[in-house]
């Protein structure tokens, strides 16, 4: 344990090649060139460059951390070497692409990619530039590790914030434009990207704040501040109040589009809260959760539509029916799977989800629920004659739904039923032996989960004003399952965090367009490897996971 890992030159070469392969892969799948069109800092670099250099810089940094106790020259040298080696596979690609037509096999090895890789220069000059630039960037990354924290932290923090602002510059641009007018927007941004001067400013401010934090913390370490429990309670209460107020005024700050994004997140939060009961609390793996969402949406759609299918209900009169219908289906679909376990349950529920979707799509039911043409002309909810058409207004409906669902979940978790669910999750047989009625407990979990999902579906239908069967495919179920696990299974705030990451973030990163699912997949893997308990884990699950970690046996490394 204690002996320091020695890193020899072979390992450095391997790591460099690894970085090179990552960069090469990102290049040949068109990731780099697609993002190459998206400037981060106007005229200086694009998002494509960020991803191109991410691998060597990251790996050099990690490696440097491991060997930073050794001499400076070695650390810097190794860093530089990693960068140089990274460039080699890319140079091979450049040579291949310029001498053969490899595009007939690999469609994304486009001239734009080669242009980006060679910085617009010819083969030789471009390759040399590539080697030098990756080398120097990796060297700097390695060098950063050698700096004392008081310098390192401000620099990394400044860079991170600049990149963050650059990434979201389009959103920021629209916000700045909305609040300060186009004049200011033009001052801060060039096109959609950050102006170099703005970028520099952000870097300096963020670095200064980080510096201030570092120095302050080293001071505050000397005098530990005691916080009395009353004070803590009070600050907790203040935090809750501030939280609620900021939730209430959020749409005013966010504007139309971001409110729309928040609404999408909110609908997923509602579904996530429901599935969290089924999977997180009761441990029943449900892969067809979208079925209840669909049922809620379709009931709302049919009841309220102003088209030929509709029955003329209003949003508010239809809402109870939507929720009720999904709940009933939750119980109905729950019954045949009561005796199934684990993966059998998973595939059967997945089947249910598909059955509902296909039936919605089918010609068989077309005359009742619209088939492929969907249900159109669904009115938006209205309150006192005021139509909630704008996302900013709809936000409050969703917020209320989420708060109710969160409150119910929270109360259920600590209730008798909640403890029965936990017991069920731990061990079904033991739970049964303890006198827990498995049938009721399981059906209640399915019913509650379905009710939340039905509510989400009802709001979804009304928000979208038209529903099509394609909106209810398997990906939705997978998305909801992933978001509760990424957030931290069984944890209520985790659902919100998960939804923000998996639903909100991709909305904002529309540049990634066709690579969104690739990023999503990679994120899920990395996330599970690094933080299997999720971003905001519930306490019990965290404990369990750590027990598992410590259990590590000698047989697997």
């Amino acid at each position: 344990m204690t002996d320091k890992k020695r890193i020899d030159i072979r390992e450095v070469i391997n790591q460099g090649l690894l970085a090179g392969l990552v960069a090469l892969s990102l290049s040949v799948i068109g990731f780099i060139s697609l993002l190459g069109e998206r400037e981060m800092i106007a005229g200086i670099f694009t998002m494509g460059h960020v991803f191109l250099f991410a691998a060597p810089v990251g790996i050099a940094s990690v490696l440097a951390e491991k060997i930073k106790h050794e001499n400076t020259g070695k650390v810097l040298g190794f860093g530089f070497l990693i960068g140089v080696i990274t460039a080699l596979p890319l140079i091979v690609l450049i040579i291949l692409a310029t001498s053969f037509d490899i595009r007939q096999f690999l469609v994304n090895v486009s001239p734009e990619l080669i242009h980006l890789l060679t910085f617009g220069q010819n083969l030789v000059v471009g390759s040399i530039m590539l080697v030098v630039i990756t080398g120097i960037l990796s060297l700097l990354a390695a060098g950063l590790r050698l700096l004392p924290e008081i310098w390192r932290r401000p620099i990394t923090s400044g860079l991170a914030w600049t990149l963050l602002f650059g990434t979201f510059s389009e959103i920021l641009l629209s916000r700045v434009r909305a609040f300060f007018g186009r004049g200011v927007a033009k001052l801060v941004f060039s096109g959609k990207a950050l102006n170099p001067i703005t970028a520099l400013l952000i870097l300096i401010i963020a670095a200064a704040i980080a510096y201030w934090n570092v120095t302050k913390r080293s001071k505050s370490e000397q005098k530990e501040v005691e916080v009395s429990p009353e004070k803590q309670q009070k600050s907790q209460r203040i935090r809750v109040v501030v939280g609620i107020i900021s939730l209430l005024i959020l749409p005013l700050l966010l504007g139309t589009y971001l409110s729309e994004v928040m609404n999408n997140v909110g609908i997923y939060v509602l579904m996530g809260l429901g599935l969290n009961i089924v999977v997180g609390f009761a441990g029943l793996l449900d892969l067809g959760y979208v079925a209840f969402f669909a049922i809620g949406a379709y009931v709302m759609g049919i009841l309220t539509s102003e088209g030929h299918l509709g029955l003329g209900f209003t949003f508010w009169t239809a809402l109870p029916f939507s929720v009720l219908a999904s709940t009933l289906f939750g119980i109905l679909l729950g019954i045949p799977v009561l005796r199934m376990r684990g993966d059998y349950l998973a595939i059967v529920t997945l089947g249910f989800g598909e059955i509902i979707r296909i039936l919605a799509l089918s010609d068989m039911l077309k005359q009742f629920i619209g088939g492929a043409q969907g249900v159109l002309q669904i009115p938006k909810p209205s309150i006192f004659g005021y139509d909630l058409t704008k996302p900013e207004a709809l936000y409050y409906i969703i917020l209320i739904g989420v708060l109710i669902a969160a409150f119910v979940s929270w109360r259920l978790r600590d209730s008798r039923l909640g403890r029965q669910w936990m017991a069920l999750r731990e061990d079904e047989t033991v739970a049964e032996a303890m006198g827990i009625n498995l049938v009721n407990t399981k059906l209640l979990a399915f019913a509650t989960g379905a009710a939340f999902s039905g509510l989400a579906g009802a709001i979804f239908a009304s928000k979208l004003t038209s529903i099509f069967p394609h909106s209810f495919n398997l990906i939705v179920s997978i998305n909801v399952l992933s978001l509760i696990i990424v957030g931290g299974i069984g944890s209520l705030p985790g659902v919100v965090v998960g939804a923000l990451i998996l639903v909100g973030l991709p909305e904002l990163l529309r540049e990634f367009a066709e690579h969104r699912l690739l990023m999503y997949g990679a994120l899920l893997i990395v996330m599970m490897l690094a933080k299997p308990e999720g971003f905001w884990p519930s306490e019990t699950i965290k404990r369990e996971l750590h027990a598992h970690k410590e259990f590590e046996a000698g047989s697997s490394d």
């Binding site: 750590h546 027990a547 410590e550 259990f551 590590e552 046996a553 000698g554 047989s555 697997s556 490394d557």
Partner: protein, 237 residues
């Protein structure tokens, strides 16, 4: 030099410390018994030695060779075989296949065939059922199978975890007779047993374990006479 030397090992399950500085030795040709109550850490010691559980501190050496860097599947190549707790036969494999798995580390087909005959002569019952799936065997037969399977590796040291557990008393005697027989043929044995009476009868030496620590170690004879051992483990008041 002792065949097996366990030196001051600490092991944890989660944050719970299961072993607190265990040291013990097993000499070549011995039968050493580890006795102790449920949860005292007996099984954990065997799992540490066989590398199924990681160590936080301490060392384990076999014939002077450090084992702490080895992986579980390498140990059998170094001469350690284990009869795991609950027997751990492969229920869906046949008796013969189970025994073949015991000889997984070996390539000498002739030698394996010989040893197969030897195991079958040691346990006649297994021979009758050689093509039967192991899950259908009785508890005693499964114990025979697990023991025979360990023998198939031709180990120099055999770790046995609770061989008598869940068996009828008549069978228990048979098992301990077999243990003696195996030992007589030259295999060193480290035995973990709750049935302290039997364990100390066959053993040369013994260790008494309490809540992760060794509280007594002596020859089997002396331990049998020890008042505390008699009270706590032998059921003699």
């Amino acid at each position: 030099m002792a065949l097996l030397e366990v030196n001051n090992i600490h092991a944890y399950y989660g944050n719970i410390q299961a072993l607190r500085g265990i040291s013990l030795t097993v000499e070549k040709g011995e039968i050493v018994s580890l006795i102790g109550a449920n949860g005292a850490g007996k099984t954990t010691i065997l799992r540490c030695i066989s590398r199924l559980v990681g160590l936080r501190e301490g060392s384990i050496t076999l014939d002077g060779e450090d084992l702490s860097k080895s992986k579980a599947h390498e140990l059998v190549y170094k001469g350690i075989a284990m009869v795991p707790e609950g027997r751990g036969v492969f229920a869906k494999l046949t008796v013969e296949e189970n025994l073949e798995m015991g000889a997984f580390s070996r390539d000498d087909q002739d030698g394996i065939d010989n040893d197969l005959d030897r195991v079958f002569s040691l346990f006649e019952r297994l021979k009758e059922r050689r093509n039967q799936v192991a899950g259908t065997l009785s508890g005693g037969e499964q114990q025979m199978l697990a023991t025979g399977r360990a023998l198939m590796a031709r180990p120099s040291l055999m770790l046995m975890d609770e061989p008598s557990m869940g068996l009828a008393p008549i069978l228990v005697e048979g098992i301990f007779d077999t243990i003696k027989e195996i030992n007589a043929e030259g295999t060193t044995i480290l035995l973990v047993e709750q049935n302290a009476t039997m364990a100390l009868q066959v053993a040369n030496r013994g260790y008494v374990l309490q809540t992760g620590e060794i509280v007594l170690d002596d020859t089997a004879e002396n331990l049998q006479k020890n008042e505390m051992v008699q009270k706590a483990y032998l059921g003699i008041d």
